[in-house]
Symmetry: C2
């Protein structure tokens, strides 16, 4: 039977379709289409399908596996001018393991699809694998396999699989009115790091071969001499967070034990990710801008670049902090456990409310406004 | 601890490194490096690591999962001029499910990373998903999740996970001296289809936007009128095999029950894939060119294009036939089961021998020569 001979239902909408259709249908038409677009999975054991940080599948009585995927593309997610091979390998592993952890899972391993221009020096590939290997050593998981193909741009697409640790997956959709909204660590560095890289290290045109060879030789320290001296320390902290972020693997594990109602990692930006929690949970949300922890280096860099650190705090993606919602009574023990067992701070930054039409942020001057997605948009 | 501060062992070599290093070290240095490059996995349950069709991981007592990944990149694996969206989605699913089946597994589902230029019409994305959905309906598995990003070329990277069906995975490394080498179906169409597409449908330059829009509107029948009339029927059969191949899911399942010593799908070409079986198993191999089943349409097209069908039979990749090695006594019942339960023919095309230095093919005129990789090389 040729499946093209009969009209087939479109079974699922990816982020892409969301984005593309958004341009045509607008936000509301889009949401409706997404929610109605998924058919029931054929297999019984699929506990969580597309739309969360990762999918969860039950196998037999005991094993529940977690699967996710994430792709980095040259000139979209990174540029040769201002990255280096280990960091690229490291970050792509980190992004996937963060998704597994935010779901309440523990990584088993990864498969990698690499797209590489034939002109790339072997050394660069060795160094990418060193970054991949380093991230797996630090955060858990083995290299399971891969596929490598020729392509004009460098592409690294990783899928990670893991097992669920606790009794149930930690979804975006579990937030309940009355819960507090909390986050680990602080935000801001990643986007500011990217701004610095673009401002101070982006080259215009360079022959492709020379650019690939320079990339293969570049090390983490290459940019030290080129940032303005006033930004050297604070700027480096932001750049290094952007290029080589650490996922909150242990923190997610510690938090799982306290039964957060919802959990997500900050990959698209605090505003975009919180809006997803509210939408998936069918609840409202009040976020207090003054309570969002902003990294001190990020504050300094934001000031130097003449931008608002509060604005950056809402939009900065690829931070990989953990955002969770939890009943008020559990906040103190959870925060204590995070501090004691991981050395990681956490803060209450808002509340979940009943009215799902009201997803708002209270500005530093006390003014309430609707929360809007402000992070990087692919489309 | 910063993993970049100390030298890390490179844990694994992908196909890419193989290819890149091959250019520098030559074939033998490369093989040595690959075989020595893998460290032992950290996790106990990893039964099969990188290097086979898919990885196999044991979870608890009963569940053994199978994982693989495969990426298609525009202008490397396909061109807008001569593909259409459903076929692209369909083929990328087929390639992954073929790997799962060749390992003795049954698919649970897939995750997709899509790279898409912002100018791609929504319709094209809908149609790609229709192809994905169609392949999943036909061959098994659910869509589990995905990631979509902007990119200048169209990229589709799929990872599939499944469960092992039989007691043990069917590896490349199990072939033993005395086993027969068999294959399902016939080969040849895929590479000839690609040759026809390149010869008759490749456009030189066209504005990017127009090319994407034409792609979004193109259907399977678009090329009918443009092939020379003598090639219309035979050429169409080859083109359609290349654009929308069917993996041998049921055949692999039926074969598993007969305990083949090794199993692999024909993705890189018969010669390259058989060399991998010999290498991984540490055995020699005699292939008889006259016994390799060549599709009749492929024979006709090869003749029309002035190329040798036997040469094509060895090099044609993306065929997705199943090659297996099996003790002679089991051939007849296995072949009968394939014919009866799947309607699929199978042939003995050679034998496994003891001398691993002797991986040879006997030509149609009885001359023996060393088998060499002749399929598409990425690097």
């Amino acid at each position: 039977m040729n499946p093209l001979m009969k009209p087939l239902r479109i079974k699922a909408l990816g982020k892409l379709e969301k984005a593309l259709i958004a341009r045509h249908l607008g936000e509301m038409g889009l949401i409706e289409r997404i929610l109605s677009g998924f058919s029931e999975p054929k297999r019984d054991g699929i506990i969580v399908g597309p739309g969360d940080d990762a999918a969860v599948i039950e196998l037999g009585e005991t094993a529940r596996i977690v699967v996710t995927t994430d792709m980095l593309v040259e000139n979209v997610h990174f540029r040769l001018d201002w990255s280096y091979p280990e960091a690229l390998g490291f970050k792509s592993v980190a992004a996937n393991l963060s998704d597994i952890a935010a779901m309440g899972g523990e990584a088993i391993g990864i498969v990698i699809s690499l797209g590489i221009p034939p002109m790339v020096p072997v050394k660069a590939v060795d160094r990418m694998y060193r970054g991949i290997s380093g991230a797996l050593s630090l955060f858990g998981g083995d290299l399971l396999g891969g596929d490598t193909v020729r392509s004009s741009a460098i592409i690294i697409s990783i899928s990670a699989i893991g097992v669920l640790v606790g009794e149930r997956p930690l979804l975006r959709s579990g937030a309940r009115a009355g819960d507090k909204v909390c986050m680990t660590g602080s935000v801001g560095r990643s986007e500011l790091g990217l701004m610095l890289l673009k401002r101070y290290f982006e080259l215009t045109h360079r022959p492709r071969k020379a650019a690939l060879e320079a990339w293969a030789e570049r090390t983490a320290g290459y940019f030290k001499g080129r940032l303005p001296s006033s930004l050297r320390k604070t700027g480096y902290a932001c750049i290094s967070k952007h290029l080589m972020p650490s996922p909150r693997i242990r923190e997610a594990r510690v938090l799982s034990a306290f039964g957060p109602s919802a959990m997500i990692d900050v990959s698209d930006g605090l505003s975009a990710d919180l809006m997803q929690v509210a939408r998936a949970s069918g609840v409202g949300l009040v976020l207090r801008e003054k309570d969002i922890p902003i990294d001190t280096n990020a504050r300094a860099v934001a000031q130097a670049l003449g931008t608002s650190p509060h604005k950056i705090a809402l939009s900065s993606g690829e931070e990989y902090e953990i955002v969770f919602t939890i009943p008020a009574a559990k906040i103190r023990p959870a925060a204590r456990a995070l501090a004691k067992r991981c050395g990681t701070s956490s803060e209450v930054i808002g509340e979940i409310t009943e009215d799902k039409e009201s997803v708002v942020v209270i500005g530093t001057r006390g003014r309430k406004r609707a929360l809007v997605e402000t992070g990087f948009r692919h489309f």
